[in-house]
């Protein structure tokens, strides 16, 4: 499998998994190819950083109370 083919399948593998055979071939490619290996590590790091940082924010006002109030008025 070439680097180009690996990249084509990479995101499918990250999201929903690819067939075992393809995964094994990709894993072997990563062992041999430094560029792809670093790319995957970097990409995984970006995804991890997004997951960690995207949920740090909290509403500045009492949003929960506002929503409950809206629901009360609506019902």
């Amino acid at each position: 499998m070439t680097c180009e083919e690996v990249f084509k399948r990479l995101y499918e593998a990250l999201n929903s998994g690819v067939e075992n055979l393809t995964s094994e071939v990709m894993a072997k490619h990563y062992e041999l190819c430094q560029a792809c290996c670093q790319f995957c590590r970097f990409d995984a790091q970006v995804i991890k950083a997004m997951q960690e940082n995207c949920f740090k924010d909290r509403p500045i006002s009492d949003l929960r109370s506002k929503i409950l109030n809206d629901i009360d008025l609506q019902s």
């Binding site: 995101y11 430094q34 560029a35 670093q38 970097f42 950083a49 997004m50 949920f55 509403p59 609506q74």
Partner: protein, 204 residues
């Protein structure tokens, strides 16, 4: 009188069920809304409006299905109809440069340009970027154009499958894949460019 009491009781049950299902998702929805609107006040308004719509249309929610996906669909549609009109964001992305950008190639160039061995060079890039990416990922993400940003968020942050994202956004699975692929590529280029601007990478 009896009918009125029964209706009141039913309304209370509905309210309780809605609150139990959807209020625990509030912080999560706010975080997503903030990444969409890039503004705290707009994010709060967006979430508040989405909850109100969700409550109005709660009778359409199929019990046992994915509540998070359902309310995220409402949030996304509300954002698209209301906030997109309000803020037509000019694209700051050079799409041609993004198309030509390949992170793996850039990494190889960086490793080659370093005085270290290939293995040492690769390790240094990974370690340096690991800390740097955590600090700047949100800014980089917010620079990704909206249609790609939302697809990346739903996939990489929220963990939805291509099929679920397709249903939330009302687009084909193929379009979802394409948007995620391009969104990630734009994000990678943003981060790589930031690193170069700050002198973290030589950027040959």
């Amino acid at each position: 009188m009896d009918n009125s009491m029964t209706e009141n009781k039913a309304e209370q049950v509905k309210k309780k069920e809605f609150e139990d299902l959807f209020l625990p998702l509030l912080d999560n929805l706010y975080s997503i809304a903030l990444r969409m609107t890039r503004n705290e006040r707009d994010a709060e308004d967006l979430v508040q409006e989405s909850y109100l719509k969700a409550f109005r249309f709660f009778h359409r929610f199929e019990r046992g299905t994915n509540a998070r996906a359902w309310i995220l669909t409402i949030l996304t549609n509300t954002f698209r109809t209301r906030y997109r009109k309000k803020k037509q964001e000019p694209s700051m992305v050079d799409f041609e440069a993004v198309e030509n950008f390949c992170l793996a190639d850039e990494m190889v160039k960086e490793i080659t340009a370093s005085d270290k061995s290939k293995a040492q060079g690769a390790e240094i890039i990974t370690v340096v970027l690991k800390d740097y990416v955590s600090d700047d990922v949100i800014e980089a993400l917010e620079n990704v154009p909206e249609q790609f940003r939302i697809a990346v968020l739903l996939s990489d942050v929220e963990g939805f499958s291509y099929q679920e994202i397709s249903e939330i956004l009302g687009i084909s699975v193929g379009t979802v894949k394409s948007r995620i692929f391009r969104g990630r590529k734009i994000l990678q280029k943003q981060l790589w460019d930031f690193a170069k601007q700050r002198g973290i990478l030589k950027g040959k």
